[in-house]
Symmetry: C2
Subunit: 316 residues, 2 copies
Protein backbone atom coordinates (compact mmCIF):
# COMPACT_ATOMS: atom_id res chain seq x y z
CA UNK A 1 0.00 0.00 0.00
CA UNK A 2 1.57 3.27 -1.17
CA UNK A 3 0.74 5.85 1.47
CA UNK A 4 1.41 8.67 -0.92
CA UNK A 5 -1.90 7.52 -2.32
CA UNK A 6 -4.78 9.89 -2.26
CA UNK A 7 -8.00 9.28 -0.33
CA UNK A 8 -11.22 11.27 -0.32
CA UNK A 9 -13.09 11.94 2.91
CA UNK A 10 -16.66 12.88 2.07
CA UNK A 11 -18.82 14.37 4.80
CA UNK A 12 -16.87 16.68 7.12
CA UNK A 13 -18.74 16.30 10.42
CA UNK A 14 -17.05 14.97 13.57
CA UNK A 15 -16.39 11.53 12.06
CA UNK A 16 -15.18 12.91 8.71
CA UNK A 17 -12.79 15.26 10.52
CA UNK A 18 -11.43 12.38 12.57
CA UNK A 19 -10.90 10.28 9.41
CA UNK A 20 -9.05 13.15 7.70
CA UNK A 21 -6.71 13.21 10.67
CA UNK A 22 -6.21 9.41 10.70
CA UNK A 23 -5.34 9.26 6.98
CA UNK A 24 -3.15 12.38 6.95
CA UNK A 25 -1.32 11.30 10.12
CA UNK A 26 -0.31 8.10 8.31
CA UNK A 27 1.02 10.02 5.27
CA UNK A 28 -1.96 9.87 2.88
CA UNK A 29 -2.96 12.86 0.80
CA UNK A 30 -6.51 13.66 1.96
CA UNK A 31 -9.20 15.42 -0.11
CA UNK A 32 -11.89 16.66 2.28
CA UNK A 33 -15.34 17.48 0.92
CA UNK A 34 -18.77 18.39 2.31
CA UNK A 35 -21.94 19.53 0.53
CA UNK A 36 -22.15 22.37 3.07
CA UNK A 37 -19.23 24.67 2.11
CA UNK A 38 -19.42 26.66 5.34
CA UNK A 39 -19.26 23.49 7.42
CA UNK A 40 -16.35 22.31 5.27
CA UNK A 41 -14.30 25.44 5.97
CA UNK A 42 -15.01 25.12 9.67
CA UNK A 43 -14.06 21.41 9.55
CA UNK A 44 -10.64 22.18 8.08
CA UNK A 45 -9.95 24.53 10.99
CA UNK A 46 -11.12 21.92 13.50
CA UNK A 47 -8.87 19.21 12.04
CA UNK A 48 -5.97 21.64 12.33
CA UNK A 49 -6.75 22.30 16.01
CA UNK A 50 -7.15 18.60 16.67
CA UNK A 51 -3.83 17.76 15.01
CA UNK A 52 -2.02 20.30 17.19
CA UNK A 53 -3.71 19.05 20.35
CA UNK A 54 -2.67 15.47 19.48
CA UNK A 55 0.87 16.66 18.85
CA UNK A 56 1.01 17.91 22.44
CA UNK A 57 0.07 14.41 23.64
CA UNK A 58 2.71 12.79 21.44
CA UNK A 59 0.14 11.12 19.20
CA UNK A 60 0.99 13.24 16.13
CA UNK A 61 4.60 13.95 15.16
CA UNK A 62 4.21 17.13 13.13
CA UNK A 63 0.77 18.73 12.97
CA UNK A 64 1.83 21.36 10.43
CA UNK A 65 3.20 18.75 8.02
CA UNK A 66 0.05 16.68 8.58
CA UNK A 67 -2.18 19.60 7.63
CA UNK A 68 -0.22 20.18 4.40
CA UNK A 69 -1.56 16.75 3.34
CA UNK A 70 -5.21 17.81 3.87
CA UNK A 71 -6.86 19.64 0.96
CA UNK A 72 -10.29 21.18 1.28
CA UNK A 73 -12.33 20.65 -1.91
CA UNK A 74 -15.47 22.72 -2.41
CA UNK A 75 -16.36 20.58 -5.42
CA UNK A 76 -17.02 16.82 -5.16
CA UNK A 77 -15.42 16.11 -8.56
CA UNK A 78 -12.19 17.74 -7.40
CA UNK A 79 -12.26 15.73 -4.20
CA UNK A 80 -12.57 12.44 -6.08
CA UNK A 81 -9.86 13.13 -8.67
CA UNK A 82 -7.23 10.38 -8.75
CA UNK A 83 -8.18 8.95 -5.35
CA UNK A 84 -7.61 5.28 -4.43
CA UNK A 85 -10.20 5.12 -1.69
CA UNK A 86 -13.23 7.05 -0.47
CA UNK A 87 -14.39 7.17 3.17
CA UNK A 88 -18.01 8.34 3.37
CA UNK A 89 -19.31 9.89 6.62
CA UNK A 90 -22.64 11.46 5.62
CA UNK A 91 -25.66 11.64 7.97
CA UNK A 92 -27.26 8.31 9.02
CA UNK A 93 -30.26 8.78 6.70
CA UNK A 94 -30.90 6.05 4.15
CA UNK A 95 -32.27 8.37 1.42
CA UNK A 96 -29.24 10.69 1.71
CA UNK A 97 -26.86 7.74 1.37
CA UNK A 98 -28.80 6.24 -1.57
CA UNK A 99 -28.79 9.49 -3.53
CA UNK A 100 -25.15 10.16 -2.80
CA UNK A 101 -23.95 6.67 -3.76
CA UNK A 102 -25.88 6.88 -7.07
CA UNK A 103 -23.97 10.07 -7.84
CA UNK A 104 -20.66 8.61 -6.64
CA UNK A 105 -21.02 5.46 -8.76
CA UNK A 106 -21.03 7.46 -11.98
CA UNK A 107 -18.20 9.79 -10.94
CA UNK A 108 -15.65 7.23 -9.71
CA UNK A 109 -13.59 4.77 -11.78
CA UNK A 110 -14.95 1.30 -11.07
CA UNK A 111 -11.80 0.14 -9.24
CA UNK A 112 -12.00 2.67 -6.41
CA UNK A 113 -13.23 1.12 -3.14
CA UNK A 114 -15.68 3.11 -0.99
CA UNK A 115 -16.14 2.57 2.76
CA UNK A 116 -19.08 3.98 4.70
CA UNK A 117 -18.74 5.09 8.33
CA UNK A 118 -22.36 4.10 9.04
CA UNK A 119 -22.98 2.43 12.38
CA UNK A 120 -26.57 1.39 11.72
CA UNK A 121 -27.23 0.85 7.98
CA UNK A 122 -25.81 -2.22 6.20
CA UNK A 123 -24.12 -1.55 2.83
CA UNK A 124 -26.73 -3.69 1.07
CA UNK A 125 -29.42 -1.12 1.94
CA UNK A 126 -27.91 1.64 -0.21
CA UNK A 127 -25.74 -0.06 -2.88
CA UNK A 128 -27.93 -2.77 -4.44
CA UNK A 129 -29.00 -0.62 -7.39
CA UNK A 130 -25.51 0.52 -8.41
CA UNK A 131 -23.58 -0.53 -11.53
CA UNK A 132 -20.35 -1.10 -9.59
CA UNK A 133 -21.87 -2.34 -6.38
CA UNK A 134 -19.02 -4.82 -5.75
CA UNK A 135 -16.70 -2.04 -4.52
CA UNK A 136 -18.88 -0.73 -1.66
CA UNK A 137 -18.67 -1.75 1.97
CA UNK A 138 -18.98 -0.45 5.51
CA UNK A 139 -15.83 0.67 7.35
CA UNK A 140 -17.33 1.52 10.72
CA UNK A 141 -15.02 3.40 13.13
CA UNK A 142 -15.41 3.96 16.85
CA UNK A 143 -15.45 7.57 17.91
CA UNK A 144 -12.84 9.02 17.90
CA UNK A 145 -10.91 6.77 15.46
CA UNK A 146 -7.59 8.56 16.03
CA UNK A 147 -7.72 7.31 19.65
CA UNK A 148 -9.75 4.08 19.34
CA UNK A 149 -8.31 2.16 16.40
CA UNK A 150 -10.83 -0.64 15.74
CA UNK A 151 -12.67 -0.44 12.38
CA UNK A 152 -15.43 -2.93 11.53
CA UNK A 153 -15.21 -3.80 7.82
CA UNK A 154 -18.41 -5.39 6.49
CA UNK A 155 -19.40 -5.90 2.86
CA UNK A 156 -22.83 -6.43 1.31
CA UNK A 157 -23.50 -9.91 -0.16
CA UNK A 158 -22.24 -8.57 -3.53
CA UNK A 159 -19.10 -6.86 -2.27
CA UNK A 160 -15.99 -8.42 -3.85
CA UNK A 161 -13.30 -10.17 -1.81
CA UNK A 162 -10.77 -7.79 -3.39
CA UNK A 163 -12.63 -4.70 -2.16
CA UNK A 164 -12.74 -6.07 1.40
CA UNK A 165 -9.08 -7.05 1.25
CA UNK A 166 -8.00 -3.69 -0.10
CA UNK A 167 -9.93 -1.79 2.60
CA UNK A 168 -8.46 -3.98 5.35
CA UNK A 169 -4.95 -3.42 3.98
CA UNK A 170 -5.47 0.33 3.83
CA UNK A 171 -6.80 0.40 7.40
CA UNK A 172 -3.75 -1.53 8.62
CA UNK A 173 -1.44 0.78 6.67
CA UNK A 174 -2.93 3.84 8.41
CA UNK A 175 -2.47 2.12 11.83
CA UNK A 176 -6.12 1.33 12.47
CA UNK A 177 -7.16 -2.16 13.58
CA UNK A 178 -9.60 -3.58 11.02
CA UNK A 179 -11.95 -6.43 11.95
CA UNK A 180 -13.60 -8.33 9.12
CA UNK A 181 -17.33 -8.75 9.82
CA UNK A 182 -18.09 -11.63 7.46
CA UNK A 183 -21.87 -11.28 7.18
CA UNK A 184 -24.08 -8.25 7.62
CA UNK A 185 -25.76 -7.94 11.00
CA UNK A 186 -27.33 -5.01 12.82
CA UNK A 187 -24.90 -3.37 15.22
CA UNK A 188 -21.93 -5.29 13.78
CA UNK A 189 -19.70 -6.86 16.48
CA UNK A 190 -18.76 -4.09 18.91
CA UNK A 191 -22.26 -2.92 19.75
CA UNK A 192 -23.48 -6.51 20.06
CA UNK A 193 -20.78 -7.19 22.66
CA UNK A 194 -21.52 -3.93 24.44
CA UNK A 195 -25.23 -4.79 24.40
CA UNK A 196 -24.67 -8.22 25.95
CA UNK A 197 -22.64 -6.76 28.80
CA UNK A 198 -25.06 -3.84 29.32
CA UNK A 199 -28.03 -6.20 29.48
CA UNK A 200 -26.43 -8.12 32.33
CA UNK A 201 -25.32 -4.88 34.03
CA UNK A 202 -28.90 -3.52 33.94
CA UNK A 203 -30.23 -6.84 35.28
CA UNK A 204 -27.77 -7.02 38.19
CA UNK A 205 -28.63 -3.46 39.27
CA UNK A 206 -32.37 -4.01 38.76
CA UNK A 207 -32.34 -7.11 40.93
CA UNK A 208 -30.47 -5.34 43.71
CA UNK A 209 -27.20 -7.27 43.65
CA UNK A 210 -25.03 -4.19 43.18
CA UNK A 211 -25.36 -0.45 42.64
CA UNK A 212 -24.39 1.44 39.50
CA UNK A 213 -21.09 2.66 40.97
CA UNK A 214 -20.07 -0.80 42.18
CA UNK A 215 -20.80 -2.26 38.78
CA UNK A 216 -18.64 0.34 37.05
CA UNK A 217 -15.78 -0.34 39.49
CA UNK A 218 -16.02 -4.08 38.73
CA UNK A 219 -15.20 -3.31 35.10
CA UNK A 220 -12.74 -0.42 35.33
CA UNK A 221 -10.76 -1.86 38.27
CA UNK A 222 -11.25 -5.45 37.14
CA UNK A 223 -12.14 -6.91 33.74
CA UNK A 224 -11.45 -3.69 31.81
CA UNK A 225 -7.80 -3.71 32.82
CA UNK A 226 -7.19 -7.00 31.02
CA UNK A 227 -9.49 -6.15 28.13
CA UNK A 228 -7.55 -3.00 27.30
CA UNK A 229 -4.77 -5.17 25.84
CA UNK A 230 -6.24 -8.67 25.46
CA UNK A 231 -9.60 -9.73 24.04
CA UNK A 232 -11.99 -12.03 25.95
CA UNK A 233 -10.81 -15.16 24.07
CA UNK A 234 -7.14 -14.55 24.80
CA UNK A 235 -8.09 -13.75 28.41
CA UNK A 236 -9.73 -17.12 29.04
CA UNK A 237 -7.13 -18.93 26.92
CA UNK A 238 -4.46 -17.80 29.40
CA UNK A 239 -6.62 -18.45 32.46
CA UNK A 240 -6.47 -22.27 32.45
CA UNK A 241 -3.31 -24.39 32.27
CA UNK A 242 -4.40 -26.09 29.02
CA UNK A 243 -5.85 -23.04 27.29
CA UNK A 244 -9.39 -22.29 26.13
CA UNK A 245 -10.79 -25.84 25.95
CA UNK A 246 -9.45 -26.54 29.45
CA UNK A 247 -11.09 -23.28 30.58
CA UNK A 248 -14.43 -24.39 29.10
CA UNK A 249 -14.11 -27.77 30.85
CA UNK A 250 -13.52 -26.06 34.17
CA UNK A 251 -15.89 -23.09 33.98
CA UNK A 252 -18.29 -23.75 31.10
CA UNK A 253 -20.84 -25.28 33.46
CA UNK A 254 -20.75 -22.21 35.70
CA UNK A 255 -21.34 -19.88 32.75
CA UNK A 256 -24.25 -22.01 31.48
CA UNK A 257 -25.86 -21.64 34.93
CA UNK A 258 -25.54 -17.86 34.70
CA UNK A 259 -27.04 -17.91 31.21
CA UNK A 260 -30.36 -19.19 32.48
CA UNK A 261 -30.77 -16.00 34.54
CA UNK A 262 -29.40 -13.91 31.71
CA UNK A 263 -31.71 -15.30 29.06
CA UNK A 264 -34.49 -12.77 29.49
CA UNK A 265 -35.10 -10.52 26.51
CA UNK A 266 -37.46 -8.15 28.31
CA UNK A 267 -36.96 -4.49 27.49
CA UNK A 268 -35.31 -2.27 30.10
CA UNK A 269 -38.15 -0.77 32.10
CA UNK A 270 -38.70 2.99 32.30
CA UNK A 271 -38.49 2.76 36.08
CA UNK A 272 -35.06 1.19 35.84
CA UNK A 273 -33.80 3.72 33.31
CA UNK A 274 -35.01 6.55 35.55
CA UNK A 275 -33.34 5.02 38.57
CA UNK A 276 -30.05 4.59 36.73
CA UNK A 277 -30.25 8.15 35.42
CA UNK A 278 -30.84 9.52 38.91
CA UNK A 279 -27.96 7.48 40.30
CA UNK A 280 -25.61 8.74 37.58
CA UNK A 281 -26.71 12.36 38.11
CA UNK A 282 -25.88 12.03 41.80
CA UNK A 283 -22.39 10.88 40.82
CA UNK A 284 -22.10 13.46 38.02
CA UNK A 285 -24.51 16.40 37.66
CA UNK A 286 -25.73 17.10 34.11
CA UNK A 287 -23.82 20.38 34.07
CA UNK A 288 -20.53 18.45 34.48
CA UNK A 289 -21.15 15.94 31.66
CA UNK A 290 -19.20 17.99 29.13
CA UNK A 291 -16.13 18.37 31.35
CA UNK A 292 -16.16 14.67 32.07
CA UNK A 293 -16.22 13.95 28.30
CA UNK A 294 -13.07 16.08 27.97
CA UNK A 295 -11.51 14.10 30.83
CA UNK A 296 -12.44 10.87 29.04
CA UNK A 297 -10.74 12.01 25.83
CA UNK A 298 -7.59 12.97 27.75
CA UNK A 299 -7.57 9.57 29.46
CA UNK A 300 -8.00 7.90 26.07
CA UNK A 301 -5.06 9.93 24.72
CA UNK A 302 -2.91 8.95 27.69
CA UNK A 303 -3.90 5.30 27.25
CA UNK A 304 -3.18 5.43 23.49
CA UNK A 305 0.23 6.92 24.29
CA UNK A 306 0.84 4.25 26.95
CA UNK A 307 0.06 1.50 24.41
CA UNK A 308 2.16 3.22 21.73
CA UNK A 309 5.18 3.36 24.05
CA UNK A 310 4.85 -0.34 24.89
CA UNK A 311 4.82 -1.22 21.20
CA UNK A 312 8.37 -0.01 20.84
CA UNK A 313 9.66 -2.46 23.43
CA UNK A 314 9.34 -6.14 24.13
CA UNK A 315 5.88 -5.79 25.67
CA UNK A 316 4.26 -5.34 22.25
CA UNK B 1 -8.43 2.67 59.78
CA UNK B 2 -5.07 2.41 61.52
CA UNK B 3 -2.76 0.69 59.09
CA UNK B 4 -0.40 -0.31 61.83
CA UNK B 5 -3.14 -2.79 62.53
CA UNK B 6 -2.38 -6.41 62.23
CA UNK B 7 -4.08 -8.75 59.75
CA UNK B 8 -3.79 -12.51 59.40
CA UNK B 9 -3.52 -14.12 55.98
CA UNK B 10 -4.47 -17.78 56.32
CA UNK B 11 -3.71 -20.08 53.42
CA UNK B 12 -0.42 -19.27 51.70
CA UNK B 13 -1.05 -20.40 48.11
CA UNK B 14 -0.91 -17.97 45.17
CA UNK B 15 -3.87 -15.91 46.43
CA UNK B 16 -2.68 -15.85 50.04
CA UNK B 17 0.78 -14.71 48.91
CA UNK B 18 -0.78 -11.93 46.85
CA UNK B 19 -2.89 -10.78 49.81
CA UNK B 20 0.17 -10.71 52.08
CA UNK B 21 1.78 -8.39 49.57
CA UNK B 22 -1.30 -6.15 49.26
CA UNK B 23 -1.65 -5.69 53.03
CA UNK B 24 2.06 -5.28 53.74
CA UNK B 25 2.47 -2.83 50.81
CA UNK B 26 -0.16 -0.62 52.46
CA UNK B 27 1.62 -0.68 55.82
CA UNK B 28 -0.27 -3.43 57.67
CA UNK B 29 1.53 -5.93 59.82
CA UNK B 30 0.82 -9.31 58.20
CA UNK B 31 0.80 -12.70 59.95
CA UNK B 32 1.05 -15.40 57.28
CA UNK B 33 -0.04 -18.93 58.13
CA UNK B 34 -0.60 -22.22 56.29
CA UNK B 35 -1.33 -25.72 57.62
CA UNK B 36 1.48 -26.99 55.38
CA UNK B 37 4.64 -25.64 57.04
CA UNK B 38 6.84 -26.43 54.04
CA UNK B 39 4.50 -24.57 51.71
CA UNK B 40 4.44 -21.69 54.18
CA UNK B 41 8.22 -21.32 54.15
CA UNK B 42 8.21 -21.41 50.36
CA UNK B 43 5.41 -18.84 50.28
CA UNK B 44 7.39 -16.36 52.34
CA UNK B 45 10.23 -16.59 49.85
CA UNK B 46 7.85 -16.12 46.92
CA UNK B 47 6.27 -13.01 48.48
CA UNK B 48 9.76 -11.60 48.91
CA UNK B 49 10.60 -12.24 45.23
CA UNK B 50 7.28 -10.75 44.15
CA UNK B 51 7.80 -7.62 46.26
CA UNK B 52 11.20 -7.04 44.68
CA UNK B 53 9.89 -7.60 41.17
CA UNK B 54 7.08 -5.07 41.83
CA UNK B 55 9.62 -2.61 43.18
CA UNK B 56 11.38 -2.72 39.80
CA UNK B 57 8.10 -1.73 38.11
CA UNK B 58 7.53 1.12 40.57
CA UNK B 59 4.53 -0.58 42.16
CA UNK B 60 6.24 -1.14 45.50
CA UNK B 61 8.35 1.57 47.15
CA UNK B 62 10.60 -0.50 49.37
CA UNK B 63 10.41 -4.28 49.12
CA UNK B 64 12.76 -4.86 52.04
CA UNK B 65 10.70 -2.65 54.38
CA UNK B 66 7.56 -4.36 53.11
CA UNK B 67 8.93 -7.80 53.96
CA UNK B 68 9.78 -6.67 57.48
CA UNK B 69 6.01 -6.32 57.97
CA UNK B 70 5.36 -9.96 56.96
CA UNK B 71 5.72 -12.56 59.73
CA UNK B 72 5.55 -16.24 58.97
CA UNK B 73 3.62 -18.10 61.71
CA UNK B 74 3.92 -21.87 61.90
CA UNK B 75 1.16 -21.93 64.50
CA UNK B 76 -2.39 -20.69 63.75
CA UNK B 77 -2.84 -19.29 67.27
CA UNK B 78 0.24 -17.12 66.83
CA UNK B 79 -1.01 -15.92 63.47
CA UNK B 80 -4.34 -14.83 64.95
CA UNK B 81 -2.93 -13.03 67.98
CA UNK B 82 -4.15 -9.43 68.24
CA UNK B 83 -5.26 -9.26 64.61
CA UNK B 84 -8.05 -6.92 63.45
CA UNK B 85 -8.93 -8.83 60.31
CA UNK B 86 -8.43 -12.26 58.80
CA UNK B 87 -8.25 -12.97 55.05
CA UNK B 88 -8.84 -16.68 54.38
CA UNK B 89 -7.54 -18.22 51.13
CA UNK B 90 -7.87 -21.97 51.70
CA UNK B 91 -8.69 -24.46 48.91
CA UNK B 92 -12.16 -24.18 47.30
CA UNK B 93 -13.50 -27.24 49.13
CA UNK B 94 -16.60 -26.77 51.26
CA UNK B 95 -15.66 -29.32 53.94
CA UNK B 96 -12.19 -27.76 54.40
CA UNK B 97 -13.75 -24.32 54.82
CA UNK B 98 -16.43 -25.57 57.23
CA UNK B 99 -13.89 -27.32 59.47
CA UNK B 100 -11.53 -24.38 59.43
CA UNK B 101 -14.19 -21.78 60.23
CA UNK B 102 -15.42 -23.88 63.16
CA UNK B 103 -11.90 -23.82 64.55
CA UNK B 104 -11.47 -20.09 63.77
CA UNK B 105 -14.73 -19.13 65.47
CA UNK B 106 -13.53 -20.41 68.83
CA UNK B 107 -10.02 -18.94 68.51
CA UNK B 108 -10.89 -15.37 67.47
CA UNK B 109 -12.44 -12.62 69.60
CA UNK B 110 -15.98 -12.08 68.34
CA UNK B 111 -15.25 -8.60 66.95
CA UNK B 112 -12.65 -9.69 64.38
CA UNK B 113 -14.03 -9.72 60.82
CA UNK B 114 -13.06 -12.59 58.51
CA UNK B 115 -13.13 -12.35 54.71
CA UNK B 116 -12.92 -15.41 52.46
CA UNK B 117 -11.20 -15.26 49.05
CA UNK B 118 -13.59 -17.87 47.67
CA UNK B 119 -14.79 -17.28 44.11
CA UNK B 120 -17.43 -19.99 44.08
CA UNK B 121 -18.83 -20.70 47.57
CA UNK B 122 -21.15 -18.18 49.27
CA UNK B 123 -20.36 -17.36 52.91
CA UNK B 124 -23.72 -18.79 53.98
CA UNK B 125 -22.55 -22.28 52.95
CA UNK B 126 -19.81 -22.49 55.59
CA UNK B 127 -20.75 -20.06 58.38
CA UNK B 128 -24.38 -20.82 59.29
CA UNK B 129 -23.48 -23.07 62.22
CA UNK B 130 -21.06 -20.66 63.91
CA UNK B 131 -21.62 -18.81 67.18
CA UNK B 132 -20.32 -15.52 65.76
CA UNK B 133 -21.56 -15.94 62.22
CA UNK B 134 -22.32 -12.22 61.84
CA UNK B 135 -18.63 -11.39 61.29
CA UNK B 136 -18.00 -13.64 58.26
CA UNK B 137 -18.20 -12.58 54.62
CA UNK B 138 -16.61 -13.13 51.24
CA UNK B 139 -13.88 -10.72 50.07
CA UNK B 140 -13.26 -12.10 46.60
CA UNK B 141 -10.18 -10.74 44.82
CA UNK B 142 -9.24 -10.97 41.15
CA UNK B 143 -5.92 -12.61 40.44
CA UNK B 144 -3.48 -11.03 41.04
CA UNK B 145 -4.97 -8.52 43.52
CA UNK B 146 -1.79 -6.41 43.70
CA UNK B 147 -2.35 -5.56 40.01
CA UNK B 148 -6.15 -5.83 39.66
CA UNK B 149 -7.65 -3.96 42.60
CA UNK B 150 -11.36 -4.89 42.53
CA UNK B 151 -12.58 -6.93 45.55
CA UNK B 152 -16.16 -8.24 45.67
CA UNK B 153 -17.43 -8.01 49.26
CA UNK B 154 -20.50 -10.17 49.88
CA UNK B 155 -22.00 -11.15 53.22
CA UNK B 156 -24.29 -14.06 54.11
CA UNK B 157 -27.88 -13.13 55.10
CA UNK B 158 -26.70 -13.01 58.74
CA UNK B 159 -23.55 -10.96 58.21
CA UNK B 160 -23.75 -7.66 60.12
CA UNK B 161 -23.72 -4.29 58.40
CA UNK B 162 -20.76 -3.36 60.60
CA UNK B 163 -18.69 -6.34 59.39
CA UNK B 164 -19.36 -5.41 55.74
CA UNK B 165 -18.56 -1.76 56.40
CA UNK B 166 -15.36 -2.56 58.23
CA UNK B 167 -14.13 -4.89 55.47
CA UNK B 168 -14.92 -2.27 52.79
CA UNK B 169 -13.05 0.39 54.77
CA UNK B 170 -10.03 -1.86 55.21
CA UNK B 171 -9.99 -2.71 51.49
CA UNK B 172 -10.09 1.00 50.62
CA UNK B 173 -7.35 1.73 53.14
CA UNK B 174 -5.06 -0.86 51.51
CA UNK B 175 -5.77 0.70 48.05
CA UNK B 176 -8.03 -2.05 46.74
CA UNK B 177 -11.37 -1.17 45.14
CA UNK B 178 -14.14 -2.89 47.09
CA UNK B 179 -17.54 -3.49 45.50
CA UNK B 180 -20.43 -4.31 47.80
CA UNK B 181 -22.39 -7.29 46.46
CA UNK B 182 -25.64 -6.81 48.35
CA UNK B 183 -27.11 -10.32 48.03
CA UNK B 184 -25.41 -13.66 47.54
CA UNK B 185 -25.34 -14.92 43.98
CA UNK B 186 -23.19 -17.52 42.21
CA UNK B 187 -20.26 -15.92 40.45
CA UNK B 188 -20.82 -12.56 42.15
CA UNK B 189 -20.71 -9.60 39.72
CA UNK B 190 -17.47 -9.84 37.76
CA UNK B 191 -17.90 -13.38 36.47
CA UNK B 192 -21.54 -12.69 35.59
CA UNK B 193 -20.47 -9.76 33.43
CA UNK B 194 -17.67 -11.77 31.88
CA UNK B 195 -20.11 -14.61 31.22
CA UNK B 196 -22.59 -12.34 29.44
CA UNK B 197 -19.92 -10.98 27.14
CA UNK B 198 -18.39 -14.42 26.52
CA UNK B 199 -21.79 -15.88 25.63
CA UNK B 200 -22.26 -13.28 22.90
CA UNK B 201 -18.64 -13.69 21.75
CA UNK B 202 -19.09 -17.48 21.38
CA UNK B 203 -22.38 -16.92 19.50
CA UNK B 204 -20.93 -14.39 17.05
CA UNK B 205 -18.05 -16.73 16.20
CA UNK B 206 -20.31 -19.79 16.02
CA UNK B 207 -22.65 -18.08 13.59
CA UNK B 208 -19.78 -17.00 11.36
CA UNK B 209 -19.97 -13.23 11.77
CA UNK B 210 -16.38 -12.84 12.91
CA UNK B 211 -13.36 -14.97 13.76
CA UNK B 212 -11.78 -15.34 17.18
CA UNK B 213 -8.96 -12.89 16.40
CA UNK B 214 -11.32 -10.23 15.04
CA UNK B 215 -13.49 -10.51 18.12
CA UNK B 216 -10.51 -10.04 20.44
CA UNK B 217 -9.41 -6.97 18.45
CA UNK B 218 -12.90 -5.48 18.78
CA UNK B 219 -12.46 -5.49 22.56
CA UNK B 220 -8.77 -4.70 23.02
CA UNK B 221 -8.63 -1.99 20.34
CA UNK B 222 -12.19 -0.80 20.99
CA UNK B 223 -14.44 -1.24 24.02
CA UNK B 224 -11.64 -2.35 26.36
CA UNK B 225 -9.80 0.95 25.98
CA UNK B 226 -12.70 2.87 27.52
CA UNK B 227 -13.51 0.15 30.05
CA UNK B 228 -9.99 0.28 31.51
CA UNK B 229 -10.85 3.58 33.19
CA UNK B 230 -14.68 3.94 32.95
CA UNK B 231 -17.35 1.37 33.68
CA UNK B 232 -20.14 0.56 31.19
CA UNK B 233 -22.64 2.89 32.90
CA UNK B 234 -20.33 5.88 32.86
CA UNK B 235 -19.45 5.04 29.25
CA UNK B 236 -23.05 5.26 28.01
CA UNK B 237 -23.79 8.19 30.34
CA UNK B 238 -21.17 10.24 28.48
CA UNK B 239 -22.22 8.97 25.04
CA UNK B 240 -25.49 10.90 24.69
CA UNK B 241 -25.94 14.66 25.19
CA UNK B 242 -28.46 14.19 28.03
CA UNK B 243 -26.74 11.29 29.78
CA UNK B 244 -27.89 7.73 30.40
CA UNK B 245 -31.67 8.18 30.00
CA UNK B 246 -31.08 10.02 26.73
CA UNK B 247 -28.79 7.16 25.67
CA UNK B 248 -31.53 4.61 26.46
CA UNK B 249 -34.04 6.67 24.45
CA UNK B 250 -31.72 6.71 21.46
CA UNK B 251 -30.27 3.22 21.54
CA UNK B 252 -32.41 1.15 23.92
CA UNK B 253 -34.51 -0.12 21.00
CA UNK B 254 -31.41 -1.26 19.14
CA UNK B 255 -30.14 -3.20 22.17
CA UNK B 256 -33.55 -4.85 22.70
CA UNK B 257 -33.37 -6.09 19.08
CA UNK B 258 -29.96 -7.64 19.75
CA UNK B 259 -31.29 -9.26 22.93
CA UNK B 260 -33.71 -11.42 20.98
CA UNK B 261 -30.75 -13.09 19.22
CA UNK B 262 -28.78 -13.17 22.46
CA UNK B 263 -31.50 -14.80 24.54
CA UNK B 264 -30.48 -18.37 23.90
CA UNK B 265 -29.29 -20.27 26.94
CA UNK B 266 -28.00 -23.28 25.01
CA UNK B 267 -24.71 -24.69 26.27
CA UNK B 268 -21.57 -24.03 24.22
CA UNK B 269 -21.23 -27.05 21.93
CA UNK B 270 -18.15 -29.29 22.02
CA UNK B 271 -17.63 -28.61 18.32
CA UNK B 272 -17.49 -24.89 18.97
CA UNK B 273 -15.10 -25.25 21.92
CA UNK B 274 -12.82 -27.44 19.80
CA UNK B 275 -12.89 -24.93 16.95
CA UNK B 276 -12.06 -22.06 19.28
CA UNK B 277 -9.27 -24.06 20.87
CA UNK B 278 -7.76 -24.88 17.49
CA UNK B 279 -7.99 -21.25 16.40
CA UNK B 280 -6.27 -20.07 19.59
CA UNK B 281 -3.52 -22.70 19.26
CA UNK B 282 -2.82 -21.44 15.74
CA UNK B 283 -2.40 -17.95 17.18
CA UNK B 284 -0.48 -19.19 20.22
CA UNK B 285 0.93 -22.74 20.46
CA UNK B 286 0.39 -24.50 23.80
CA UNK B 287 4.12 -24.38 24.49
CA UNK B 288 4.01 -20.55 24.44
CA UNK B 289 1.08 -20.18 26.86
CA UNK B 290 3.33 -19.71 29.87
CA UNK B 291 5.44 -16.97 28.24
CA UNK B 292 2.30 -15.18 27.18
CA UNK B 293 1.02 -15.27 30.75
CA UNK B 294 4.26 -13.57 31.83
CA UNK B 295 3.75 -10.97 29.08
CA UNK B 296 0.19 -10.43 30.37
CA UNK B 297 1.40 -9.82 33.91
CA UNK B 298 4.01 -7.33 32.67
CA UNK B 299 1.36 -5.51 30.65
CA UNK B 300 -0.88 -5.43 33.73
CA UNK B 301 1.99 -3.99 35.75
CA UNK B 302 2.64 -1.33 33.11
CA UNK B 303 -1.08 -0.50 33.00
CA UNK B 304 -1.27 -0.32 36.81
CA UNK B 305 1.73 2.04 36.76
CA UNK B 306 0.12 4.11 33.98
CA UNK B 307 -3.07 4.47 36.05
CA UNK B 308 -1.07 5.21 39.21
CA UNK B 309 0.83 8.03 37.47
CA UNK B 310 -2.41 9.58 36.20
CA UNK B 311 -3.82 9.62 39.72
CA UNK B 312 -1.19 12.10 40.80
CA UNK B 313 -2.25 14.65 38.21
CA UNK B 314 -5.52 16.22 37.11
CA UNK B 315 -6.55 13.15 35.09
CA UNK B 316 -7.45 11.21 38.22
Amino acid sequence: MDLNNRVAVVGAGLIGQAWALVFARAGCEVRLWDADVKALHKAEKLVDELAHSLQESGLVDDATALMRRVTRCDDLKDALESVNYVQESLPEVLSIKKDFYTRLDSLLPSTVVVGSSTSSIPASAFTEHLAHRERYLVAHPVNPPYLIPVVEVCGAPWTSTEAVKSCIELMRAVKQKPVHVRRELDGFILNRLQGALLREAFRLVEQGYVDIEGLDITIKEGLGLRWSFMGPFETIDLNAPGGISDYCDRYGGMYQTFAVDQGSTDAWSNELIERLHKARRELLPTVDLEDRRKWRDKRLMALAMHKKNLETDSLK
